[in-house]
């Protein structure tokens, strides 16, 4: 039965796709008018609308007949930006060439973004969030599940682009827009060129394979100007973490080696001149360093909506925190424990967003590995933003550890509305903030910060 339902949905959505692409908006209007006039003209003795129907249907039939005439073979090449952002329009140019011998006009261009229909396994096993609240009819037919899965599988929303007239072998540039819907690598499969019949009611297609990839950054929410409390901490490496060449900025003087100095600070030129171990001395650096802890341990792998939102929250903070004056460490556990630092010229924010674009839920490790990662760096950190997917003992312990070192924290906990509502931990001080986030309603909480 389920398989029958699946086949049915699959078939009807392919029919819808076909009809949507095959008819232009004008074609739809003619079709609609034909249907309406058929309704009014049902009794041919009472109204003449059947004559309107006869003409419109004939026009449509003839224009469908014209679709036997193939669309011209065209070529296109994209100039893609390096990255895009989920939910924000991605604009780029496509250079289209007409290799044929005659001029082509009235051509529209579509991006091939792949088939968003779910697989049978997905349809069978992945319930829509809140599906248990739907009535028995909906739960049986799973139509909403189908719609939700299709929307979830859609990598981007494409728009048709009208091309200017194409003269033989003269490339033209078309400005194209798509709206990416998922973070990660967006694969653009190819280009479809649609040509209409003489009446402009139906389309035929030719395609040009042009597989290309673009990295889509996570969606970001606006966050009000935010100051995370915390004090300046001594940073032993100074800004030696700087990505610029050498370590000139912080270099103060040379002095003799004392026990305990790192070997990498030995100034070998002076050693060779003086025969003694000479080390470089650096100015001590004090500045703010914030940790952004992203929880990747999903209790139920099917409910990845919360995870996506968590990544968006992390990206929003990465983007919003003032990295001119402070450093930001992004800590999370993927296949391995991961820390990335940005700010004060060290690393780039964009890189951090790119990493967040590819974060996946961690299935191979335990939450303890994130705890270890945080503890290793706890001494350097002056403030901490935690984005948790749950609020169990392990996570509470991590927060307690942070508070034992009096690190101010800002805690976000995702809660899907089921089970007991997570409560603020006693270990938190008054100045620490604790917020519950529900998937789909994150923006309002962040806006109120």
């Amino acid at each position: 039965m389920l398989r029958l339902l699946y086949r049915n949905y699959r078939f009807s959505s392919s029919l819808k796709y076909w009809a949507r692409r095959r008819f232009t908006p004008a074609g739809w209007l003619v079709f609609g008018c034909a249907i309406m006039s058929a309704g009014i003209g049902l009794d041919t003795n009472q109204a003449l609308a059947y004559q309107v129907f006869a003409l419109l249907i004939s026009v449509l039939l003839l224009s469908l007949f014209w679709t036997l005439w193939p669309a011209p073979k065209l070529r296109g090449a994209r100039s893609l930006p390096r990255v895009g952002t989920t939910g924000a329009p991605l604009h780029y140019k496509i250079s289209v060439t007409n290799p044929g011998k005659r001029k082509e006009a009235s051509i529209t261009l579509f991006e091939e973004l792949g088939d968003p229909r779910p697989t049978y396994e997905q349809f069978r096993d992945t319930p829509e969030p809140g599906e248990q609240k739907r009535n028995a009819w909906d739960r049986f037919f799973r139509f909403y599940r189908w719609m939700w899965l299709t929307a979830r599988n859609e990598v981007a929303e494409g728009f048709e682009t009208r091309l200017p007239p194409l003269f033989p072998n003269k490339p033209v540039e078309a400005a194209v827009k798509i709206i990416p819907k998922r973070r990660g690598v967006l694969r653009l499969l190819g280009l479809s060129f649609a040509a209409t019949d003489p009446f402009g009611l139906t389309r035929t297609f030719s395609s040009w394979p042009a597989p290309q990839k673009v990295l889509i950054l996570p969606k970001r929410y606006p966050i009000p100007a935010l100051v995370i409390p915390g004090k300046l901490e001594y940073q032993p490496g100074g800004v030696s973490l700087a990505s610029s060449i050498g370590e000139s900025g912080e270099f103060v003087a040379l002095r003799e080696y004392r026990r305990g100095d790192p070997l990498r600070h030995i100034h070998w030129k002076s050693v060779s001149k003086t025969g003694k171990l000479i080390v470089k001395e650096f100015q001590d650096e004090y500045f703010m360093r914030h940790a952004l802890i992203l929880d990747t341990f999903l209790a139920d792998p099917k409910e990845d909506e919360a995870f996506e939102e968590a990544v968006s929250v992390a990206a929003s903070f990465a983007h919003a925190l003032n990295t001119q004056e402070s450093l930001l460490d992004l800590l999370f556990v993927g296949p391995q424990a991961f820390c990335m630092t940005a700010g004060r010229g060290v690393g780039h924010l964009e890189q951090m967003l790119e990493i967040l674009a590819s974060v996946q839920p961690c299935t191979t490790r335990e939450f303890v590995s994130l705890e270890q990662l945080v503890v290793q760096r706890i001494d350097l950190v002056s403030g901490c933003v935690c984005v948790f997917l749950g609020w169990d003992e392990a996570r509470k312990r991590l927060v307690k550890q942070l508070k034992m070192r009096h690190i101010p924290v800002l805690v976000f906990v995702f809660w899907n509305g089921r089970g007991a509502e997570p409560q603020r931990e006693d270990a938190l001080e008054e100045s620490d903030r604790f917020h519950l986030l529900q998937p789909g309603r994150v923006e309002e909480v962040l806006a109120r910060l």
Partner: protein
């Protein structure tokens, strides 16, 4: 993309012509197409578009309700479709006079209005849709001539030409369109044939929904059919006796031949009745000197209707129709009717105008003879005079019961005809059983008889007139006794009460509602305008002008940004605009959304002469344009001279 200029106007003209509202069409066309000549545009906000759509919605439902109650269903529906261009005119108006290219989707949906904020979501240019509405609406009319198809072809051709694909030569387009038009022409010729074939198959199913007119040639009885008869409250007539008595029944059809549960008329030919000089009086009989005058206000079918008349109708007065015709059995039908007519009927006297008895009035179908013979024996009236035979038959049926409902068990599946079962076993049925059995029994007793259908006049109102509802439809017999036709109604007199016992509890409310809607229809079609009729147009006009003021009365925006010619805003005559014109001639024109400062800074790179004076020039220009105090005469001169020197350099 909007429709090409004048296409909408042409469509409205075409519609006005076909729907016989040419004046409305012409006015609409002028108003819509004037947008091509006027430069003025309104800046409608989303909210104002919502309001315009709400006006259309109100018009939509208002027109629907009005037509539902003032016209017969089918005709009202066609009129409703034909009014669509008027109903949606405000939206088309809003579109063509709006500075915005598209009307936001949310204007059309209450759901989206709540969901989306100002300016969000896509939109729709409705000019093409309005064109489609005009085309389809012009098809809701019924003036059969070749010009309709030609007109539709022309407008469709114009529209698809504007939408054509430029990859094909014009000749390919033309050939395709001619082919499509020819195909359409052939198809539209075949469609009526298809319909009559289809109707032959499923006629009953097809016209289930509309009230059916009596067919004076044939009447299929519901005898032998299972279940409950329809109990419609719908009022179809009001009968008022103006002089003398009100008739007990109004007849519509008269039939003389019965076979297999169907009564037929062997007199199928109808003849026109000559019209009197006042164009509303129709004389049926030569002798009109009787005392009875009854006024009948009846819903009529627009094209053709069978008139409800007393048996001895002599003359019909005040009936504004095209023609009236009758057949030999004096069933009368009229053509070209209003939806409701209030006509007066002079009636009474003898039935000398009725067709005298013929062979058909004595005929009995073979299959029914045995059972009739048995019943006749029971009556035992074979030797008596005709009048007593009739009385005996009436007595015979007084022992029968009235029922509208028959179960499957009652009807069964056996060899007996429904009539035989009625006479021998059940002795219960509805009026068609009684009337049919009476006619056939009388015939068996050698009394010529006919079967009559029509309405029983029963429900008296407080005002003294009678209300006739659909459920008052009735059948009775006409017997020829002593050279005169008399009505013989053997259905138990309390049949209406019997029916009322099976009514649902809300029947009273249904009846009241039906009376109110009939009263509205009467008001709509009455010749006398009451106080409501007098003030309604003024109220409507007032409401319309208030709406127009609310929607269109604000924020007129001049889209002509040329400025110098018709500008009346402060600083419109600044010479900087001359400079702008000159520079744009040199390819350094101001771009959309560029401020004067950005533009002149950009231009400075190409016109170095601007460099020393730019700052001063801009300050003066801006002050002249935007400073509420303005600039003095000397500064004005300075601006002129600065621009002049700049112009010389360019």
């Amino acid at each position: 993309m909007r429709t090409p200029p004048f296409l909408l106007g042409a469509a409205l003209l075409f519609w006005g012509w076909r729907a016989e509202m040419l004046l409305v069409g012409v006015m609409g066309a002028i108003i819509l197409e004037a947008a091509n000549l006027l430069k003025a545009r309104w800046e409608f906000s989303d909210k104002e578009f919502n309001r315009i759509w709400d006006v259309c919605t109100i018009l939509f439902f208002g027109a629907g309700l009005y037509l539902r109650f003032s016209e017969e269903v089918t005709n009202g529906a066609y009129k409703f479709f034909a009014w669509f261009p008027i109903i949606f005119f405000p939206m088309a108006l809003g579109q063509v006079y709006s500075a915005r290219e598209k009307i936001p989707y949310k204007a059309f949906s209450w759901f989206l209005r709540r969901k989306r904020a100002e300016g969000q979501g896509g939109g729709l240019n409705i000019t093409w849709i309005y064109l489609g509405i005009c085309l389809v609406a012009s098809g809701a009319t019924n003036k059969q001539d070749i010009w309709f198809f030609m007109g539709v072809c022309g407008l469709t051709g114009w529209a698809v030409w504007a939408n054509r694909a430029f990859r094909f030569p014009g000749a390919a387009w033309a050939a395709s369109f001619i082919l499509a038009a020819a195909l359409g022409f052939v198809t539209q010729m075949q469609l009526p044939r298809l319909q009559s074939w289809f109707e032959g198959r499923a006629s009953e199913w097809f016209s289930k929904w509309a009230r059916k007119d009596f067919d004076p040639r044939e009447s299929k009885t519901a005898m032998g059919r299972l279940g409950r008869l329809k109990q419609s409250s719908r009022v179809i007539m009001r009968v008022t006796a103006e002089e003398g008595e009100a008739p007990e029944r109004l007849r519509q059809g008269m039939y003389d031949h019965y076979r297999e549960e169907t009564w037929r008329s062997t007199k199928r030919e109808f003849k026109d009745i000559p019209i009197e000089s006042d164009t509303t009086t129709w004389t049926l009989s030569t002798s009109t000197n009787t005392d009875n005058l009854v006024k009948v206000s009846a819903r009529l079918f627009r094209e053709r209707t069978t008139l409800s008349l007393p048996l001895t109708a002599r003359q019909i007065q005040d009936l504004p129709v095209d023609t009236v015709e009758t057949n030999a059995l004096r069933a009368a039908r009229s053509f070209g009717n209003p939806a409701l007519a209030s006509y007066r009927v002079v009636w009474g006297g003898s039935t000398e105008d009725e067709l005298p008895p013929e062979g058909a009035d004595i005929f009995i179908e073979e299959g029914e003879r045995a059972v009739l013979a048995r019943a006749a024996t029971e009556i035992g009236a074979s030797g008596l005079p005709d009048a007593q035979k009739v009385a005996a038959v009436e007595r015979f049926f007084s022992g029968f019961k009235y029922t509208t409902y028959q179960t499957a068990a009652e009807l069964g599946f056996h060899a007996m005809t429904p009539l035989s079962r009625f006479l021998q076993e059940t002795r219960a049925g509805h009026c068609e059983y009684f009337a049919t059995a009476t006619v056939l029994l009388l015939r068996h007793l050698k009394v010529p008889a006919r079967y009559v259908t029509g309405y029983a006049i029963q429900e008296k109102t407080a005002g003294g007139s009678y209300i006739v509802r659909e459920r008052h439809a009735h059948a009775w017999a006409l017997a020829y006794v002593n050279g005169d036709w008399v009505e013989v109604d053997t259905t138990p007199a309390d049949w209406l009460k019997e029916e009322a016992e099976e009514f649902p509890f809300y029947q009273k409310a249904k009846d009241l509602w039906a009376r109110l809607t009939f009263a509205f229809t009467e008001f709509r079609w009455s010749n006398e305008t009451g106080w409501l009729g007098t003030i309604a147009p003024w109220l409507l006009m007032l409401a319309a002008s208030y709406l127009a003021w609310r929607i269109f009365g604000r924020r007129l925006k001049k889209t002509d940004t040329g400025g110098l010619r018709e500008g009346n805003w402060p600083g419109a005559d600044s010479e900087v605009f001359l400079l702008e014109k000159k520079l744009s001639g040199a390819g350094l024109g101001r771009l959309d959304g560029e401020t004067s400062a950005e533009w002149l800074t950009r231009a400075r790179e190409n016109v170095p002469a601007l460099d020393p004076i730019l700052r001063e020039l801009l300050t003066l220009h801006y002050r002249y344009r935007f400073d509420p105090v303005g600039i003095g005469a000397s500064e004005r001169d300075q601006l002129r001279s600065l621009v002049k020197s700049a112009l010389l350099e360019v």
